[in-house]
Symmetry: C2
Subunit: 345 residues, 2 copies
Amino acid sequence: MSSRVFQFDTNHGQITTPLFMPVGTLGAVKGLTPDEVRATGAQIMLANTYHMHVRLGERTVKKQGGLQKFTGWNGPMLTDSGGFQVFSLAKIRKITEEGVTFAEPRTGDKIVLTPEKSMQIQFDLGADIIMAFDDVVSLDGSEAGREREAMERSMRWLERCVAEHKRLSEGMNKPPLLFGIVQGGLDQQLRKESFEFVQSQPVAGIAIGGLSVGEPRQEMHAMLEFLQPLYTDDRPRYLMGVGHPIDMRFAIEHGIDMFDCVLPTRNGRHGTAWIKGDQQINLRAEMYKEDSRVLDPGCDCATCTGPYSRSLIRHLLHVGEMLAGRLISIHNLRYVQRICDANKA
Amino acid sequence: MSSRVFQFDTNHGQITTPLFMPVGTLGAVKGLTPDEVRATGAQIMLANTYHMHVRLGERTVKKQGGLQKFTGWNGPMLTDSGGFQVFSLAKIRKITEEGVTFAEPRTGDKIVLTPEKSMQIQFDLGADIIMAFDDVVSLDGSEAGREREAMERSMRWLERCVAEHKRLSEGMNKPPLLFGIVQGGLDQQLRKESFEFVQSQPVAGIAIGGLSVGEPRQEMHAMLEFLQPLYTDDRPRYLMGVGHPIDMRFAIEHGIDMFDCVLPTRNGRHGTAWIKGDQQINLRAEMYKEDSRVLDPGCDCATCTGPYSRSLIRHLLHVGEMLAGRLISIHNLRYVQRICDANKA
């Protein structure tokens, strides 16, 4: 077991791991300004390629100078590939060797995503780190048996992403960094094959995908233990979609450098906070009605150092006042950054 | 026509008019922190007695040290009396000499409000300025003929508020300031009688109530012209529920010192902003899709001096991202404060 500190450069500055990337699904971390996100200790923000593509269009973002300028974040930014949204949102989808065709849930519009298309969108969005387009498999049992097929397809798609990344980078001064994604479900043999293939590619970082998708916590942890001896020291390791403090602590101890997850902010909007000792509390509870303490007395976030009592936050949650979600989101984001910071000391 | 600068002390500091009071209906200006509200230039904030009473309870607020401490605003605060909510929210209400009985719209609970009860709640909430409980009449025609009755009842209720304020103030080091409210609809004779009565009472300020409740703008302006010669110099004059730039400019020129209104923040949440020249624009419009200018280039608010383009704000509105409402609310609040500030220079 060992954590590490790793540094690498992006087009918008150097970043130091371990780090957590707040998720700005549609260009904003829900309810928060870029300054507020930065004040939680975030070095890099994530935006969802799929949502930006469908809800605004990458051409508009490009005309506005790219995601960093458009969102006002003005710092390092990562975009995912859309692969996870295909997996999580599309009820009806058709996966072929070429790519994925599916009906956009909001509009019913037919959407076609391929490795090349994903690269093109991400280049237009202008992120500093872009992700390979992969085929994600649920681990809740509903897709049992599809792991090898999806893993092998993800390998072939990665080759196409690498080729398209190379093509699109021609003549560019500062092309984005491309990260490959390891798949293979909970099967060690598949994971090893996938890892070795991704590792063999000219990618700038190694992401572990397809975990935290319905499997028991111990299974995820066992896979992180299995993967750890395989890592080389030269590239960042990014565990996708994981942001629970317990998992982050375990993953950092097992060599993971980067995280992203909607949990801190989604929980925050629903009134749930982590406080000292990874205790999870819901501020809506009656017991906080007259609790004049701050959310987490030991915390240094803007919420916990501000004039906000648990009593106030509970009240704001009960009356549906959106400030409550902001205040708890800020605390939760800081909470997970502090887990990362503890490993840099 | 003449505006004025007037200063007076509250238990939480001196305030200088003309000024606009942002409305923190339930203890927060929707979506904003107290610091953000203060940064718009606000000196004093308003909270709604009725909503705090029904949704949380004044006893809880009192135990938390009063509204200023509870909300984190920690500055001058005004509470209304509940009279306007009785008027605007209660579909079924029974007005007697004693007070008002009505069914709370959310829960159906029977609520009884009297002048004494309103004073008691406002004392518990702990505001610096509290308002008399009055009988408000709609000016959209639906209550035609009730103006004299309501005005005269408001006068008798004011006497009871004054008496209850005196009783509750006994032994208190710093009792709140009580403002009386002038009623009388659009009838000059009624307004004059009401004004002279309020003026004769030991109140710390004179509020003009029952305007901006459905009447044409010219009628409200005509009444402000009529009232102006009646004012004395010793007390602040507060025009309740008015916050449109055009009305504020007119009112300030006609001797009004204080305003409150949900318009800047409600408009903000719906995407509507005032920009240079009192132009009202809706940021949802397609024409802003690729407009990289800030909301109002001449404005000094946090939104207009921040990294937020019209293009971004339009996008955030379209995807339902609540940051948009925050950004425009901040601008609109600053916009109306700048109208006030222009009259202090």
